[in-house]
């Protein structure tokens, strides 16, 4: 039997075994990490540290899940920080703050999400219609957004006065930071979406082979636009929450998120080539990265080395999982 380009395919051995590291690898790494860290320092497994982790990981989780769907289609979105910055400033302007007289409370966060979604839609639109490689569009967009955000607050960081709103994030509900529940709810929502929405199948299909997906009837352009919009919304949410948590509306609070987001997604098993990975995997990936950061602080390692460690992990994770057949001529 021939493939479309006339090649005869001979039977391959079942690929089941090769999938093992991909499915269980991240989990194994996570467990191993927890064990190693708890052995290295007694401060890791304390309640206060765990509570701290619960406070820290939801925002990266939201960002990572947004990126995950884009990467699953085989594209990439480097606009995380830019969109976060704009969304954060937008949110800052709508809640009780030093610059404007608005006081929308939670509505402010919603505005941030909307701003993110709009930027994501722009990103996707330029990518799909302009047919420019996604990494360039998102990179350019990110730069433009940082500039936009800074203009919006005119160089003077906005101070947020809405303590009630901030408490909604860092305050406690049932003994743990409220934001943890937000994160959990978001995760469960995405899990349901992944399992029950046809869109999730379409996303995987496009990542697997865009041509085949298109021939099967998947509206590739619409799906791509949708994932970029979703990603933008996620970054918007992350940026809004980040801003409220820190009570500062500024573009300085977003540095470092791009790295950790992409690294988390890749470590969680989502292949850069697309078509693989899962929301659960992303959760594990985020936990791994956050725990590593946490561990580095507990072990008194220079916090600035975080970026280097993440960079190295990123390279290692991809090197280990890359599909060599697909990567014959890599750009």
């Amino acid at each position: 039997m021939k493939t479309a380009d006339g090649n005869i395919l001979k039977p391959k051995s079942p690929a089941g075994l090769k999938q093992l590291p991909r499915t269980f690898g991240p989990l194994a790494i996570l467990i191993g990490l927890v064990i190693i860290l708890s052995l290295l320092t007694p401060r890791f497994l304390t309640t206060s540290n765990l509570i701290n982790l619960m406070l820290l990981f939801p925002i990266p989780l939201i960002l990572a899940i947004g990126s995950h769907f884009v990467i699953q289609t085989g594209s990439i979105d480097l606009s995380v920080e830019g969109v976060m910055a704009v969304a954060g400033v937008v949110t800052a302007m709508f809640v009780h703050n030093s610059l404007t007289s608005l006081d929308w409370g939670v509505g402010g966060i919603a505005m941030g999400v909307l701003a993110g979604a709009a930027l994501g839609a722009l990103n996707g639109f330029i990518y799909v219609k302009g047919r420019i490689p996604s990494f360039i569009v998102s990179l350019g967009l990110s730069l433009a957004c940082i500039g936009l955000a800074t203009i919006m607050y005119g160089g003077n960081p906005i101070s947020i006065y809405d303590r009630e709103l901030q408490n909604l994030i860092i305050g406690r509900t049932l003994g743990v930071p409220t934001i943890f529940w937000w994160g959990l709810a978001f995760f469960l929502l995405m899990l349901v979406a992944e399992r029950y929405l046809p869109l999730s199948n379409h996303i995987r299909a496009i990542g697997g082979n865009e041509l085949i997906a298109r021939q099967a009837g998947v509206n590739v352009n619409r799906v791509k636009l949708a994932v970029f919009m979703l990603a933008g919304a996620c970054y918007g949410l992350g940026g809004a929450l980040n801003t409220v948590r820190l009570t500062i509306g500024s573009s300085d609070t977003v540095s470092g998120f791009l790295f950790s987001t992409i690294t988390s997604v890749v470590v969680g098993g989502t292949a850069l080539t697309g078509g693989r990975g899962s929301v659960t995997g992303v959760l594990i990936g985020v936990l791994i990265i956050q725990i590593i950061n946490n561990g580095m602080i507990l072990l008194s390692l220079n916090p600035y080395l975080q970026a280097a460690v993440q960079g190295a992990i990123l390279i290692a994770a991809i090197a280990v999982t890359i599909n060599r057949r697909k990567a014959q001529f890599v750009k």
């Binding site: 219609k129 433009a144 203009i151 960079g311 090197a319 890599v330």
Partner: protein, 323 residues
């Protein structure tokens, strides 16, 4: 219009149009800015523009070859930052030794990029993002997250960089010399020509006996070196280095290369174009300053310009499946 977007203006625009467009843009810009504010043509301003241009050019030298091959180097800015810090720290005591060290660091970093890209088969934008993170970290760690001032501003190296030879600052001369040497390699040696072959079609290049990895590693190594030297130039202008001083130069180097007319898909363009791109960017930047445009707005303009220039120069017939 949709037709143009679909094919990629790069495929439709005649060769002559593509070749001359950047020059035309450059001339038009000089005219526009000059008319708006004749102060532009003042000697001191021109020197400012040329200094800015040479800074942009230095950062873009290696990036040009990387993009010519069809890849990208996202670590340029971080390398520049890291080297600005190291250079500022050491130049007072080590003099020319510091300069040599920077060159070596640049080569080592670029080599790392090249090896990760070719040996581990990781897409260049991720590979350089990853290594960029390492450089970023080192910049912060070495400088302890603060600005590093040059201890002895009067030391020979700093004075050399600041001196003028026939009214031309040495830093500019250095950049242009390097550019000329690289241009000679690019246009007149087999190795330089191979960059174009690889960028045009890697499969065909491989089947024609070109050792692709070798040239890729070379391009990235050079990119690392020029990024490092950018850090040195930065220090020579403001007499200190800081861990994020060079960060904007990643995107700026890409903008310069793309605006000069080198296609992101590779195989077309080169250092000659990059020179034009550097001048355009410098005049744009300087022009915006002279006219009084907000610095942050400039970022937006740069971002938009990158996307636009990429769109126009891209030859879509070379990308079957756009990612």
């Amino acid at each position: 219009m949709a037709h143009i977007l679909k094919q990629g203006a790069g495929a439709l625009l005649g060769g002559t149009v593509k070749r001359t467009a950047p020059v035309v843009v450059l001339l038009m810009m000089i005219a526009v800015v000059g008319i708006w504010n004749p102060a532009f043509f003042q000697g001191s301003n021109l020197i400012t523009v040329l200094t800015l241009a040479s800074l942009l050019l230095m950062a873009s030298l290696g990036q040009t070859w990387v993009i010519l091959l069809g890849s990208i180097d996202l670590s340029v800015g971080y390398m520049a930052s890291m080297c600005s810090v190291i250079f500022a720290l050491l130049v007072s005591d080590w003099g020319y030794g510091a300069l040599l060290l920077i060159v070596l660091i640049g080569i080592a970093g670029g080599l790392l990029n090249g090896l990760v890209y070719t040996m581990l088969r990781i897409p260049s934008f991720i590979a350089t993002l990853g290594t960029g993170g390492i450089f970023l970290s080192l910049a912060y760690v070495i400088s302890n997250a603060s600005t590093v001032a040059v201890a002895d501003v009067g030391n020979p190296v700093m004075r050399l960089l600041g001196r003028e030879f026939l009214y031309v600052p040495v830093s500019i001369g250095l950049t242009v010399l390097l550019w000329a040497a690289m241009l000679a390699y690019q246009n007149f040696t087999p190795g330089g020509k191979k960059l174009y072959y690889i960028g045009t079609s890697e499969p065909a290049a491989w089947l024609s006996g070109i050792r692709i990895n070798r040239h890729k590693i070379l391009a990235f190594t050079v990119s690392g070196m020029t990024a490092a030297l950018t850090g040195v130039l930065l220090v020579s202008t403001i007499y200190n280095g800081s861990p994020n001083l060079g960060d904007p130069y990643t995107l700026k180097s890409i903008a310069v290369v793309v605006m000069g007319g080198t296609a992101l898909t590779g195989g077309v363009g080169g250092l000659g174009r990059t020179m034009i791109g550097a001048l355009i960017m410098a005049i744009l930047s300087n022009g915006m300053n002279v006219v009084g445009v907000n610095v942050y707005f400039q970022n937006i303009v740069t971002g938009a310009v990158i996307v636009l220039a990429a769109m126009l120069s891209l030859d879509r017939s070379k990308i079957p499946m756009l990612k």
